[in-house]
Symmetry: C2
């Protein structure tokens, strides 16, 4: 299809498509003349993914490019590739630390992998420090409860990773982490409401 049809099919404005081509987020079409190129279904799919990452998830163009590059790089270590890809997602913890004592202790209590270089470890450290700073530290009972139930949720998430295709697995990991997180947060508030209705509401 021509670029005008790509614009129509994808719903992405022409100037934006050209910008993505220039920035290397969208691979060039097949040249059919000095100033013309032909685009395929893979371009439509790629534009939908770029849109999801930038507009729905809210990633910068640079971070979107990093995710797309990981999806295309041949990999023999899917575990590492998934880790790098999810690291493109906020929250971004700037502090470099060699150790994350609160997170290390929490992961030790849960018996989970502790890898101080994994971005979510710094994220957990900061969240635990914030809880302490307002006088509501996470005690062991809460940690074990949250950990047990979040682990069960993660088991379902990981069971649904597309098998055999690293690019599809990375796409699922990044979008699924970002997109389902707000669903979980909303469900927690609604579960609070549901439990409170019987506890406090006489409803």
């Amino acid at each position: 299809m021509r670029i005008s049809q790509l614009v129509e099919r994808s719903g992405v404005p022409l100037a934006t498509v050209k910008y993505y081509l220039r920035e290397g987020l969208l691979p060039p079409g097949e040249a059919t003349g000095a100033t013309r190129a032909r685009y395929g279904e893979e371009h439509v799919r790629r534009l939908a993914l770029i849109r999801a990452l930038t507009e729905v998830v809210g990633l910068s163009v640079a971070r979107t490019r990093a995710v797309l590059e990981l999806m295309e790089a041949p990999t023999t270590d899917l575990y590492a590739a998934l880790g790098h890809a999810v690291a493109a997602l906020p929250p971004y913890v700037e502090e470099q630390a060699e150790d994350h004592p609160r997170a290390r202790a929490a992961l030790g209590t849960l018996g989970w992998v502790y890898d101080p270089g994994y971005p979510a470890v710094a994220q957990l450290e900061r969240a635990l420090a914030a809880a302490e700073s307002v006088g509501m530290p996470i005690d062991d009972e809460r940690l074990r409860c949250y950990g047990e139930h979040v682990h069960r949720i993660a088991e379902l998430d990981i069971a649904q990773v597309p098998a055999g295709d690293a690019g599809a697995a990375i796409e699922y990991a990044v979008l699924g982490t970002a997109i389902y997180e707000p669903v979980l947060a909303a469900l927690r508030r609604l579960a609070h409401q549901d439990v409170s209705a019987s506890a406090f509401g006489d409803r």
Copy 2:
């Protein structure tokens, strides 16, 4: 104590303490002269709470005032007061809608309370719409899994609401909702890593 001691005890700068007094976030001290007042432990506690709400949770001064007012208002309906208080937290969904079809269907599947005026309902609607828009709608299996485990987490959260003191209950609900949400999000990512390590990593 004098205002200078309040500054020292709380760690909040004098100009900020005066600003909170002017804005009505901090109740006035007991007047001991034309320009002097005496402050008590309740002022130290209040400043710590204001700091938690503004600096750690990130609320605006207006939303912080709304939470503090709810904590002080006498209430016979704790369920409603908790709902109003948690509504001060982001994400703020601006759209006014009479119905939230995706959230209604999801809550119906889960068998939970559906109250279209509750802010978290609009939040869930938006999160479900975002999942659809990237081609990853929440299917029933995922919804039931997330719902079941988040409900168990919410049961622990609600069981720990301080009993008998509406102000303390509101403080716990607002801080606990905001402060433990990032802990859960970080734990989910770490649980993904823990499950992936055995699924993909040969670790």
